[in-house]
């Protein structure tokens, strides 16, 4: 045993590397992320991203104030901000039948859109990840289904709208089906791609260590493919959110998109812009949340 110890206590070469890299300095899995300088925690670097938007808003304010832009084309920023305030905090006028409310209805619209998004997105993950693994891991499954998946994913979500309305009618079913279709294909394609690229040596090592064949998907393929799967999940989340507005073309009375279509009918540009900003902010927050939730799972693959 003395011989076992000898090279390990020697303070030179490889073993000094060991002492230099004291375990204390290692970010433990699940511990704080070792951020690169460009990461969001690196000082105030993220403020830089606000410079261009702020300049654009300033230019917009100047152009509106000088009367260069008709308020019927683009109302001044103050008015849009005011509309946003009323959308969020205005006194909720009891809505009349057939009328999509705006004043104080922000919470209701956002909640309706979020519900559609989350329900359909979870369904898309439930279908997309297993289907993607099937395509990535089984040549049979790939030959059988890949052409169909490739063809279907070429159809834009808007092109599904008529058939969706015909099948599900006006209502929640068609809205959710469209969000599902928007979200599912990126998940399928990314999962199939990532799982088909898992290095053979990892699978062979797992087999030689006694991992049963039926456990390989869960123990090796899924963890190894997870960084790629997460990328697909992020794309699917964003594309699903973009499809929410298409889903809300199906005669919804609640939802951010429904509000925007009502605002267009009433020629309320400020309200349309509030809807667009709501989409942008929620989409961004959703992606940040998903990244925060998945980061601990794929930290091992950080560059």
């Amino acid at each position: 045993m003395a011989r076992v110890q000898a090279p390990l206590t020697r303070p030179d070469g490889d073993e000094s590397t060991a002492t230099l890299r004291a375990p204390v300095t290692l970010p433990a899995p699940g511990g704080p992320r070792h951020d690169r300088p460009s990461g969001p925690t690196a000082g105030s670097a993220w403020l830089l991203g606000l410079v261009v938007p702020a300049a654009l808003v300033a230019a917009w304010a100047v152009a509106s104030g000088a009367g260069w832009i008709s308020p019927r084309i683009l109302p001044p920023p103050g008015e849009v901000l005011d509309a946003a305030w009323r959308f969020a905090f205005g006194s909720d006028t009891r809505s009349l039948p057939g009328v999509v409310p705006f004043e104080g209805a922000g919470g209701r619209h956002v909640a309706a859109s979020l519900r559609r998004w989350v329900v359909a997105y979870l369904l898309a993950l439930g279908v997309g990840i297993p289907l993607g693994l099937g395509l990535g891991l089984s040549p049979w499954c790939r030959r059988l289904l890949d052409p169909l998946v490739q063809a279907l994913r070429s159809i834009p979500v808007t092109a599904w709208l008529p058939i969706s309305l015909a099948w599900f009618g006006l209502g929640e079913g068609s809205a959710r089906s469209l969000v599902f279709l928007g979200a599912v294909f990126p998940v399928v394609v990314a999962t199939a791609d990532a799982s088909s690229r898992v290095p053979a040596t990892l699978v062979e090592t797992a087999r030689m260590l006694g991992t049963p064949r039926r456990a390989l998907a869960r123990r090796v393929y899924v963890p190894a493919a997870l960084p790629g799967i997460v990328t697909g999940m992020r794309l699917g989340l964003t594309l699903g959110w973009m499809s929410v507005i298409v889903g809300e073309l199906t005669g919804q009375r609640e939802g951010v998109g429904a509000m925007m279509f009502a605002a267009r009918a009433a020629v309320q540009i400020d309200q349309i812009l509030v809807g667009m900003a709501t989409f942008a902010v929620i989409g961004l927050l959703g992606d940040l949340l998903l990244r925060a939730m998945t980061r601990p799972l794929i930290r091992w693959s950080d560059a």
Partner: protein, 246 residues
């Protein structure tokens, strides 16, 4: 006499290219056999066949009298480059085999191997946080955790610098001395073969056949000093001549 592995007239071709042309060799219990040969001669192909990761076109591979079919924890292979699971901690990597095989107390097995590999302080680290030498030790420890009667090593230290490699040779000798494990080591490094092996098998260039066999006979106490031992130097000159002659 019982053999950890008995290979008889093994053949393997890829399309029209014959890679292994009738190799017979024996790995007796608790011996280290080094297979030495020029690059591209089919050493890795041979090892994959023995590991059960590939099927021969002809000949037999017997493992203690039983025919080899498919990969098995009885003769795991450590391939070139690290084969650790990159998302799992060093400890989880070492516990992987014992856990999968339902062995008692995988944590204790891992503790012992962490100690023997000098990685106790790195149990919670991920493979990418280790240096090349540490990663290679962990990869060997990972397969030793299933207590295999035979270990297959494919150029295990090929990617390391010369000094680290020498340390790894000394480390591996001490590690194996405490275990009843036979080793079949594939390498192109003559020093490595003569430092580690009890028996040396030299392959011809492709298609690979056995060109020459040799009992190393340098004793059990081999290390950095062996490199300047006249017997080692003479052996090395002889083996190098044969390797370079092809």
């Amino acid at each position: 006499m019982s053999s950890a592995l008995a290979v008889d007239r093994l053949r393997r071709s890829f399309g029209p290219v014959e890679v292994i042309a009738g190799i017979s060799l024996d790995v007796p219990d608790e011996t280290v056999v080094a297979v030495l040969g020029p690059s591209g001669c089919g050493k890795s192909t041979l090892l994959r066949l023995l590991a059960g990761l590939d099927e021969p076109d002809g000949g037999t591979i017997l493992e203690r009298g039983r025919k080899v079919v498919g990969p098995s924890p009885l003769r795991p292979m450590v391939a070139q480059g690290a084969t650790l699971f990159p998302w799992a901690t060093v400890r989880a990597n070492l516990e992987w085999g014992p856990r999968m095989l339902g062995r008692p107390d995988p944590a204790a097995v891992a503790d012992e191997l962490l100690e023997a590999t000098g990685l106790t302080g790195f149990a919670a680290a991920l493979p990418r946080q280790l240096s090349g030498g540490m990663r290679q030790r962990a990869a060997i420890a990972q397969v030793l955790a299933v207590q295999p009667p035979l270990l297959l090593l494919d150029e295990p230290f090929g990617a390391l610098d010369a000094q680290t490699r020498l340390r790894m040779h000394e480390w591996l000798r001490s590690l194996l001395a405490a275990r009843p494990t036979s080793v079949l080591l594939v390498t192109h490094d003559v020093d490595e073969a003569l430092l580690l092996a009890d028996r040396l098998v030299l392959l011809s260039s492709r298609p690979a056949t056995i060109a020459f066999e040799l009992d190393v006979g340098l004793g059990d106490d081999r290390g950095r000093a062996t490199l300047v031992d006249p017997r080692f130097v003479a052996l090395k000159a002889d083996v190098l001549d044969r390797v370079l002659a092809g």
